[in-house]
């Protein structure tokens, strides 16, 4: 099954339930990756996540309907962090952001942060978008609920939310 518009729309709803009900301690990037991979496994969708190692780009790939989903997820969570999430997402307009989209931070060449949007809506009184997000952390935590105006979120990468590059997963 490919990542159709229906599948991508379904991910937004799935992610919201997933992160709000996640009951274990988890790192921030792992929460986003876990949500994506578990949705793909449940819907028999492919996932391709690119990473840079030994001087070149390479891929972690899970074929559609593969029975190796658990091993793929374990490997992806172990090997990939917030900076890899940035590499596998694209910048989107603030007004098009929705549940499951991400707000990323790149603090250094080795450390970043991942926030998963739960709700986002324009607040006319504040003149800004009011965001509710969930996040893992380091040290790992049971996902934390945070709220704030978008402009008040610290060190947002590219000053915009991001969305998984769903189109690359089918290639």
């Amino acid at each position: 099954m490919p990542w159709t518009k229906s599948a991508i729309d379904g991910y937004a709803a799935f992610s919201r339930t997933y992160v709000t009900s996640f009951a274990d301690e988890i790192d921030c990037a792992d929460l986003a990756l876990s949500s994506l991979v578990d949705y793909a496994i449940a819907k028999r969708l492919p996932v391709r996540l690119r990473y840079f190692a030994k001087g070149k780009w390479d891929w972690y790939a899970l074929a559609a309907g593969s029975r190796k989903g658990a091993a793929f997820k374990r490997n992806a969570l172990q090997m990939l962090g917030a900076l890899n999430v940035i590499d596998n997402t694209r910048k989107i307009a603030l007004e098009s952001a929705r549940p499951g989209d991400l707000i990323m931070t790149r603090w250094s060449p080795t450390l970043g942060h991942t926030r998963i949007i739960d709700t986002i809506r324009f607040d006319p009184a504040a003149g800004d978008y009011r965001v509710v997000w969930y996040q893992g952390n380091l040290p790992p935590v049971v996902p934390q609920r945070r709220t704030g105006l978008f402009a008040g979120i610290s060190s947002v990468y590219d000053n915009a939310p991001r969305r998984w590059k769903f189109s690359q997963f089918d290639a």
Binding site: E25, C28, S108, T110, L111, N137, L138, P139, P140, V141
Partner: protein, 144 residues
């Protein structure tokens, strides 16, 4: 005679509890004798470790260690396992070991933002112990 019986019964309860705690399962409720408050375990002498802060909702102790030597850290983890085993934190607590109390915080805490950016926070984050999986991870603040 009656008093002896009470002492013996109390001792048996303690032993049974200790044996049970050698292999607790994270998803099991605490044993019925788990009447000790988790907070009482925070009064243990953890030297050479020192508690920097406690995140009670996440059941996490942030501690400071003088160096990365694993022996003292492992020994204090055993002490804490024994104590928390009789509380509702049993199998559900974590220990985050740092070299500097000022840096012993979550990475998104504004108070450590400068140290996160320049790498001091990652270097100071020596180890992470997860009681649910009983794993000690060295240098957990690496590439994430």
């Amino acid at each position: 005679m009656r008093r002896w019986w009470h002492v013996a019964a109390a001792a048996c309860t303690l032993v049974i509890g200790c044996v049970r705690q050698e292999a607790p399962a994270a998803d099991e409720p605490p044993p019925p004798e788990a009447t000790t408050q988790a907070r009482s375990c925070l009064r243990l002498d953890l030297a050479p470790l020192a508690i920097a802060r406690v995140d009670e909702p996440q059941r996490r102790l942030f501690v400071v260690a003088p160096d990365a030597a694993e022996g003292p850290i492992a020994a204090r983890i055993r002490d804490l396992e024994s104590c928390f085993g009789f509380t509702d934190w049993s199998g559900r607590w974590s220990l985050s070991v740092f070299t500097d109390a000022a840096l012993a915080r979550y990475k998104d805490d504004p108070q450590v933002e400068a140290a996160v950016k320049d790498g001091r926070w990652s270097k100071a984050y020596l180890a992470e112990y997860d009681a649910a999986s009983k794993t000690l991870t060295r240098n957990p603040g690496g590439r994430r």
